[in-house]
């Protein structure tokens, strides 16, 4: 486990060469190596061609320590433009060093530059670790309730 110095970490836009590290990092947490999924996310969010879409990584002395993906969406669910964070992850051994906060702050800065004043995310109820992270950054319950059902076959 490498200890991480917060000051040595730089948050920047993802590059194609970072993708393998991102895939490994995600697999460490989810247990699944989803190469095709991440290649598609890179194509959609990582190239910087689409305004409002962000795919950022935190790069430390030992490589990629975390990433965040976010997007500004207009009028989805009837809501005015707001920023959505739909993926954030920090290497387990690099946690508690402020990297997650820096990634979140960076993606929120990107939203602010586009005039967005609200940021949202969606999490599983039992994902206590990440729920606590967002709560500690000041996030509270939104005005929306997620619903789902099983479809009849």
């Amino acid at each position: 486990m490498n200890r991480v110095r917060d000051a040595a970490v730089r948050v920047r836009q993802v590059r194609q060469a970072d993708l393998e590290a991102v895939i490994v990092l995600d697999a460490q947490v989810t247990g699944l190596k989803k190469a095709d999924y991440w290649a598609e996310l890179y194509r959609r969010y990582g190239t910087g061609r689409r305004r409002g879409r962000q795919f950022l990584v935190a790069e430390g002395e030992h490589g990629i320590e975390g990433f965040v993906i976010g997007e500004v969406r207009d009028w989805e669910f009837g809501s005015p433009a707001c920023g959505w964070v739909f993926a954030i992850n920090v290497r387990p051994g690099a946690r508690q060093a402020g990297i997650g906060s820096r990634l979140l702050e960076a993606v929120c800065d990107g939203f602010r530059k586009l005039g967005v004043t609200t940021v949202r995310t969606l999490l599983a109820r039992d994902n206590n670790l990440v729920l606590s992270f967002f709560r500690a950054r000041g996030m509270m319950a939104a005005q929306f309730i997620p619903l789902e059902m099983e479809l009849d076959r």
Binding site: R125, N128, S132, R135, A136, G138
Partner: protein
């Protein structure tokens, strides 16, 4: 999920002590600030001491000190000491609970409970203290009376206002 009195007193006590873990806070101080019975509060404080969340500091200027990790201790950890959170206790034994409507009501109430539990699990003492500081900055330093009064008058708008960071 409705919190029992003892649970509320416990949360008040833990948060009051965690504001400054070095300073012992007396039971009298907590009782006066939150306008609660010192007799009832003392029992709660002893339970928090047994759980290792607070420690008693004896002597002049004594009281209770917070000894947990504020970034790790969740509200649910405190609540679980005073409430049966395993499931909706008693659900299924109430009159009508075994009917189709009764079971449906149980499903809805269970959904509410699960959301409440997830919320309490995800909010740490540290997060609550940040929230309290924001409330104070927003002008609710003496809190309870002002919030209760406005919430009773304008529930939806007020709730929205207080939830925003």
């Amino acid at each position: 999920m409705r919190l029992q009195k003892a649970t509320r007193f416990a949360l008040y006590s833990v948060l009051e002590c965690a504001r400054d873990p070095q300073r012992p806070v007396s039971a009298t101080e907590i009782a006066q600030k939150y306008e609660v019975s010192i007799h009832h509060l003392s029992k709660v404080l002893r339970e928090l001491g047994r759980a290792g969340i607070l420690e008693a500091a004896r002597g002049v200027g004594g009281g209770y000190r917070f000894r947990g990790n504020p970034r790790r201790l969740a509200l649910m950890d405190v609540i679980a000491l005073f409430e049966d959170i395993s499931s909706r206790s008693g659900a299924g034994r109430e009159p009508g609970a075994r009917t189709d409507v009764g079971r449906s009501l149980g499903v809805v109430l269970g959904e509410i409970d699960e959301i409440a539990k997830a919320t309490f699990r995800s909010i740490t003492v540290d997060t609550m203290l940040k929230l309290a500081r924001r409330q104070k900055r927003a002008g609710y330093g003496r809190g309870n009376a002002v919030i209760s009064a406005s919430a009773a008058t304008h529930p939806p708008d007020c709730a929205r206002r207080h939830r925003r960071p």
